[in-house]
Amino acid sequence: MPNVSVNGIVIDDTFAEAFGMRATAIIITAPNRKWARQAAITMTGFATSVIGCGCEAAIDVELPPSATPDGRPGCRVMIFAMGTDELQKQLLNRVGQCVLTSPGSACFAGLEGSAELKLGSALRYFGDGWQISKKIGGRHFWRVPVMDGEFLCEATTGLTKGAVGGGNFFVMAESSAKALVAAEAAVAAIGLVPGAIVPFPGGIARSGSKIGGKYKGMIASANEAYAPTLRGVVRSELGSDINAVLEIVIDGETNDAVAAAMKAGIKAVIELGPKRGAVRISAGNYGGKLGKFIYSLKDMLP
């Protein structure tokens, strides 16, 4: 099938290729929205890619007081990793250093999964013997004394083995500014999709990579086919009208969540139109041989 054009934007006849991952989610609450977000943003910092960060994490959705266990504003945070052990390690380090420390915070399970990960049942040792265990309505909480009162933390949270990491699409535009506008529109739309996160800075990656490189030990390196400055030098994927490419990378709790997020993001870019935003949309893959999950762009159109 040839490339199609929707609302003046060229949609490449290609697909995104994604992988199975392990994921968990927690709900962080705080006395107000600002501090719920602060704790969530801090614990999801330096969590853009498993290549160098050990995990990929971001805020999934913000929760109003009516949707949190303690009636305070909150955020649902999702964390993705390649293995259960690494996910457990990242979860405890991040909650221990970034949520436990954040003023007025509390932390709850955000996922019911096939297995459990330790949360409060490990962090409780911060209490040095003064921690209190409470089982309320079938849920187990630990109360750890801290300097502004108590840190309340659910004992465990769920783990899913059915998560998907690496759903993606490329937003390609005539200028950096237009590419950014289009990518921001996509990120805003994906923010409303439950169960999907965009872990890169502000949800956008500008250094989309290929696997390996010419230097020994490089797991990933420049994707020169999409680098506009190398357009005449290498076998480029870019036409003369493209001067900036931004990638939206999506991790989802399920295959469906990733597909829904891609659809929402692509729809937002298409609605923005080629004059203000992108002129072309593509996606990254490895020929379809490595990833278990394939998202064909033509299936993701609004």
């Binding site: 009636g71 409470k134 309340l152």
Partner: protein, 269 residues
């Protein structure tokens, strides 16, 4: 299947031990044989058929129509199903329950819910002394489950409680939560003298400042408490209370420092 119903014909001539009449112990037994189970504990030796008119056939749904303070050990050790007493119950109702629901639509005698390990026991009237508490010689009292008294409870409610939730909604007698090992005791409507006497760990949640406290309790301030929010919401969601008990920053007293001192008494400021 219709609820297995025991209708009280007249006031029993002796105290009765109803522990054989639980869903587990009646499963698969013909009505004719049920009527022959001995429940009287004196020389009368009354059988079920002497005291009750039996109807229905579902042992998972047992109803005692008509109550008496002589009906002891109702639903003792039950593990599932439901037992309902329409009227009063005697001593040790729901003792050592492990699951299911027991509802007493009336008053219960002493040691109701004694040593419960699970399930839900609800008493719409008042409960006697030693609610959920151990019998003489036992080390721990209530060990899990939910025990709700919509009326008043007597003295030593939740004595030596170890796990679970007890809620007393119209006030308790003296020494509520004495010797608590852990768990949660809620008392609305006033708690008598010296709640938490010799408690080691656990939480006693009150709707007002206690009348008196053992001098070995210490004041611990009133920081904001997520636990208070969680338990308030849980009590409302479970239909136990209609409005929040503690609020966001309850006053805390810690104790009893005559023993371990890791317990807490919380009440709204």
């Amino acid at each position: 299947m219709k609820a297995l119903t025991f209708t009280l014909v007249a006031e029993p001539p002796e105290r009765l031990d109803l522990s054989p009449l639980t869903p587990e112990r009646l499963a698969g037994i013909e009505r004719r044989d049920i009527e022959k189970i001995q429940i009287g504990i004196s020389k009368h030796g009354s059988e079920v058929g002497d005291i009750f008119r039996v109807a229905g056939n579902d042992p998972l749904d047992i109803v005692f129509e008509g109550g008496s303070t002589r009906l002891d050990r109702v639903a003792e050790g039950m593990r599932g199903g439901s037992v309902r007493v329409v009227g009063n119950a005697g001593a040790q109702a729901g003792r050592a329950m492990r699951g299911g629901t027991l509802t007493i639509e009336g008053n219960a005698g002493p040691h109701a819910g004694s040593g419960m390990r699970g399930g839900r026991l609800e008493i719409t009237g008042n409960a006697g002394d030693h609610l959920g508490a151990p019998l003489a010689g036992e080390l721990a009292g209530m060990n899990g489950g939910v025990l709700i008294v919509r009326g008043k409870a007597g003295g030593f409610a939740a004595d030596r409680m170890r796990r679970g939730l007890i809620a007393v909604l119209k006030g308790s007698g003296d020494n509520a939560g004495s010797r608590m090992i852990a768990g949660t005791l809620v008392v609305a409507g006033g708690s008598g003298e010296m709640p938490g006497y010799l408690m080691r760990r656990g939480s006693i949640l009150l709707d007002r400042a206690p009348k008196s406290l053992s001098p070995s309790f210490v004041e611990c301030g009133a920081p904001e408490s997520v636990f208070a929010a969680i338990i308030d919401r849980h009590l409302i969601a479970e239909g136990i209370l209609k409005r929040p008990l503690l609020g966001i920053a309850p006053q805390k007293y810690g104790g009893d420092n005559a023993v371990l001192g890791m317990g807490e008494i919380l009440f709204p400021r």
